[in-house]
Symmetry: C2
Subunit: 573 residues, 2 copies
């Protein structure tokens, strides 16, 4: 019994925490208020709940039949909440009940030159500009979802950064920014930072993808297409970008491999050079570590793209083994302990830093891990969105390790120093906050836990019962080479579990199994049942299973969100 | 909220199922009744509950301060229940309110000769004898916990079998047997099957071990010794035997390796021959797949030894790589797919069949899997209880695969045909019963999921709070080479989680990490708290975590019992 009451208490605790939040955390607070309003007040009555993602927000909404837009939220809910919280702060900007555009010139404020602003670029005094606005965001620094990245903008305009990290461009963040307004930037120093040129070369995308953020482009594959194809067609493969897509020429592309040992040795490979290694293909699903984050977000808000279950797809990758290239480049297979392989892509952030992350050299050199330098995807050259002309594919790992547009590999004593490696894709227990989480000591995620999702029916569907049962289909996957050995579905809250009869998977060995598994289960339902909640859980070849609920795996970043998938459907007999 | 009520409904369903059981399942029924009586009626009041194992029963009892013996149970609880259930069946034996010895001659029953009995040895009519008793157990066959093994005793005395499988020798099973009594065996055919000679050569054991069954010998290591030593001293390493311990001479011992391919090739190795391969050491914990079964048994009874958390220990094993020996013996490393390696030990069951199980050849040939043919344990020759002079050590797998007293290895297209391989160590979902479980299609368990246990304090301990916190120590482990990356402890039902600060583990690479991890956590408690329930859960390098509860991982055999470990302690401030 106590588990339930603990759950409630946990929710209450969350409420308290969030209501106690200072102004510096308004953004999170409003998200939570929204969640609480929609979630808690209607959870007992909504039976046909639908998920709908509002692109401009970056968060998932639960609605009751109708779609509540960001504007409605902003004016009705968030507006009120923000209004309440900031009314006693000396905000010199607009009223809070209209959606504002930040950075307008305001007559009553002092004017600063760019030179003056540039003197305020450290943690003691941290100013930024946006269009005509000057902002002192010193007190906001510890709460920045992107962590230390913000430090790059100290004393400067934040526009070039927000052009790369387009998720900032929301009414809430504009409003939050304005709450820190202290002045106007001198007219002579206001520069047009419009982002046209950065994004003009983005590839054309399939309009069946569900767009989560436009710039950078992040989009998931609809559930119905996940189960339609065992190997996902390239144009439907989910897309996760951190920055604009670089445009690279396959003929000119060079891969630099540097091995730091007693002396530093560097090799350079054209794609033609790489072809001299034995060519292989590997079937591997790639999954974002944040897949299914939207479900964890319902327990308590987390930071990150609100992926539903569509941040995973499956493909056959063609290329050469990373191990072979590393051996050729001088890596001693007996001297791997404690070393790392840093992958760097051609995609560049607003400060000119290339995307980069690393994996342990042990992992790279293990023949079972099957890591590829891939040039093809399902038999075709890599599409631009998936790393053309060369990417790493690290099977079983979070897809972030499978660096796209690969331009260099460095074998080093150290992990990648990049923000993406040091300050993201690490896990914490549910009690760690952004203030207490120590990224330096938290282990990077190099392998993903077992997960599954129901793809058909969808949450809220009305299903005709045939022969006393409903057919349920979905995917399951486990990282680290583990194979899915069983998928169980319950339609009665765990009292009975029905094993999926059909598991579609390839024949790779159990601990070297990197593809996903599609499954079909027939789940009996009683004739009096008008509505059921379906639960799915998978078991992998290590006999790990999914946790029941998200509460105890909740983490600030919303990754590794692998509790049971639960949907409600209506039945027609 | 619904999760709780589902839990209750699940319990009620279990009750119904068990109360509906037919006479053939009295044994299970009585066990459940006992569990229900002790468990459900007192779960809310017992705060200082202690676990005590009654050896003659083979099940775990929960008592409130005093020890309830098997005799008390038999006469008070089980006796009454059995009495109730069998009163309308035509049982021709003793009254049910006294503990009986089976097989006494009963004057009112017909007499059969051994020859007559021997005609009833198939599933249509299945008779066995025990001392003077003749029994028609045809209807019991589907319910036999040991599955098909019972068929070997068709038309014969079951005494030689029970001498090997000593767990049958309990008052309940004698009573169950007598419920099938149909006659007396002719005096001339009654043979003395006393078991003295079988067990006379058993090794001397350390009396600190907690004995679960005497014949065969199964004993767990007390929790306090688990955390006292990172590598468990040989004499405290838990012991799991299926049969009597064979006595083998290291000098004369031979290992036969047979590789079945286009032609059959056999090599024979003395221990001295094996020394010619490179000698290596590997640190690996071995854990019974049934470790922590007693906790799963509290949800609903399962079949098997009632291990608490002591069926896991850690050691450094010395020997040679199985892979090297297989390569030498003619295994083609490129032709492993779908093949198996069958290990056969020198321990023999009542029918003369040697213990045997198998693993996939892929697993055996994978250099990362580090499987040994071991001759030493923590630097000493293997003790008799641990396989002297030669055993397999399959790191990360259920210990059953690490066959002791190894005398032959066969590379084959097929898995081991043995009962232990085909009818045990396979997993099912909670809805599968002994009647519906299909062992043929269920995947064998070759790797273990993440688990942990609190070793200190023990359940029911009274602990002095120091500096507002209690120190909690335990072990954590994950199979398949996964490393433990985090252990979290909660003292408030999951509202807050405290990360263990000290993780003691060796430095093996993440996916080749086979030792266990010892941990220490400091868990704050409020001054007003007089009692807390501690929860422990571990996370491994694939970021799999333990399931919250046993309900949804329950399985008929009680294996893979890895939900959160929960204990209650009293606090003194």
């Amino acid at each position: 019994m106590y588990q339930c009451s603990e759950t409630n208490k946990t929710r209450e605790t969350f409420c308290d925490i969030y209501f106690e939040m200072s102004l510096k955390k308004i953004l999170l607070g409003t998200v939570f208020l929204r969640n609480r309003y929609i979630g808690l007040s209607s959870v007992s009555t909504i039976t046909d709940k639908k998920y709908r993602f509002d692109e401009s927000e970056g968060f998932l909404f639960r609605t009751k039949g109708k779609i509540l837009t960001a504007a409605v939220f902003s004016s009705v809910l968030i507006g009120a909440a923000v209004n309440e919280q900031i009314k006693d702060k000396n905000v010199k900007s607009q009223s809070n009940d209209v959606v504002i555009e930040a950075g307008e010139k305001l007559p009553d404020l002092p004017t600063y030159t760019a030179e003056e602003v540039s003197k305020h670029g450290d943690k003691n005094s941290f100013w930024v500009t946006y269009k005509h606005g000057v902002y002192d965001v010193t007190k906001f620094l510890p709460s920045h979802p992107g962590g230390e990245q913000i430090m790059n903008a100290g004393g400067l305009s934040i526009e070039p950064f927000w052009n790369v990290y387009g998720m900032h461009k929301t009414p809430e963040i504009y409003k939050l920014l304005e709450s820190y307004r202290i002045g106007n930037l001198h007219d002579d120093d206001v520069i047009d930072h419009s982002d046209d040129e950065l994004w003009v070369k983005e590839p054309v995308r399939d309009n069946r993808l569900i767009v989560k953020t436009a710039k950078p482009f992040n989009a998931e594959i609809p559930a119905k297409y996940q189960i339609k194809f065992f190997d996902t067609p390239n144009e439907l493969f989910y897309v996760r970008q951190h920055m604009p897509v670089p445009e690279l020429d396959a003929d000119d592309h060079r891969l630099k491999v540097t091995v730091k040992g007693s002396k530093i040795r560097t090799e350079e490979f054209s794609l033609r050079d790489l072809d001299k290694f034995r060519r292989v293909t590997t079937r591997a699903a790639l999954m974002c570590a944040g897949n299914r984050r939207s479900e964890m977000n319902e327990v308590k808000p987390v930071k990150g793209i609100g992926w539903m279950g569509g941040a995973i797809s499956n493909a056959v990758w063609g290329g050469v083994y990373l191990r072979d290239v590393l051996l050729y480049s001088g890596v001693d297979p007996e001297d791997t302990k404690g070393k790392h392989v840093i992958f760097t892509g051609a995609d560049i952030d607003a400060t000119g830093v290339n995307f980069s992350t690393s994996i342990p050299l042990d992992m790279a050199m293990n023949p079972s891990s099957g890591i590829l330098l891939a040039t093809t995807m399902n038999g075709h050259p890599l599409p631009p969105d998936h790393g053309r002309p060369l990417r790493v594919v690290v099977p079983g790992a979070p897809a972030v390790r499978s660096v796209k547009w690969l331009q260099s590999i460095t074998v080093s004593e150290d992990e990648s120093p990049s923000h993406w490696h040091q300050k993201d894709y690490r896990a914490f227990n549910p009690s760690k906050t952004w203030e207490t989480a120590d990224f330096a000591t938290a282990p990077p995620v190099y392998s993903l836990p077992v997960t599954s999702a129901i793809c058909d029916p969808a949450d809220g569907d009305v299903i005709s019962v045939k022969n006393g049962a409903v057919q349920v289909r979905g995917y399951a996957y486990s990282g680290g080479g583990a194979k899915i050995v069983r998928v169980d579905v319950s339609a009665d809250g765990g009292r009975s579990w029905w094993e999926a009869r059909e598991l579609q998977a390839d024949a790779a060995p159990p601990q070297q199994h990197y593809g996903w598994t599609l499954w079909t289960a027939s789940v009996p339902v009683a004739t009096q049942q008008k509505e059921v909640e379906l639960w799915a859980k998978a078991t992998d070849s290590n006999f790990n299973t999914q946790p029941e609920r998200f509460n105890d795996i909740w983490n600030i970043r919303g990754i590794l969100s692998n509790a049971y998938h639960r949907i409600k459907i209506k039945l027609v007999h």
